[in-house]
Amino acid sequence: MRQAGAYSNLLCGGISGRTGPHSLPLARIKKIMKNSSEDVKMISGVAPIVFSKACELFIEELTRRSWIMAIDGKRRTLNKEDIASAVIATDIFDFLITLVSNSDATDANNTVIQMETI
């Protein structure tokens, strides 16, 4: 399983060895959490650590689903339209529909987006 390296290397540096044991920088995660809402005042130390793993899992899942779209299109290069298609096809990614519609990613899928948002 690909993930085995990520936490079995926790002591010696995780995926990159340069960002410390986590695959995403905790300070940046904390900043994004604070920016998300006025209500977010205090954040426990472990919350960004939970997110560093959750984001890794999220990126893995969305990437793999997007790759299926690329394969369907007989391509070996993942492009942003594949990500948009994966978002549209997956219920739990509904919160991203506006984001992928606002990027150019859905030019090819405009009809689908219009049907989704009506």
Binding site: L24, N35, S37, A47, V50, C55, F58, L96
Partner: protein
């Protein structure tokens, strides 16, 4: 990318690395798709944090905890992440304990 913008999203290098590890070795990833994924992952954090923060607000608590994030993930349909996160936190805490004990040993040696 200027400094101000860079602070609002996750670093593209880290995002790209995770994407690469999720794909077969012959896969290629366009730069634009890394940028879009960077934005999606950032939005994911905001979305889940918002849900967790609402819960804290309703319960009159000021601090968003790790448990609140886990609760929000389950509430929003990401319950399949909960088990992996639990294992990750366990390993992280074990590693922290090892470091703590190593520090104690070194301090004790210095005193002898």
């Amino acid at each position: 990318m200027n400094g101000a913008e860079g602070d609002k999203t996750l670093p593209i290098a880290n995002v790209g690395r995770i994407m690469k590890q999720s794909l077969p070795p012959n896969a290629k990833i366009s730069k634009e798709s890394k940028q879009l994924m960077q934005e999606c992952a950032t939005e994911f954090i905001s979305f889940v944090t918002g849900e967790a923060s609402d819960k804290c607000h309703k319960e009159n608590r000021k601090t968003v905890s790790g448990d609140d994030i886990c609760w929000a993930l389950c509430s929003l349909g990401f319950d399949n992440y909960a088990e992996a996160i639990g294992r990750y936190l366990y390993k992280y805490r074990q590693a922290e304990l090892v470091k703590l004990n190593q520090n104690k040993l070194e301090t004790a040696k210095d005193k002898v």
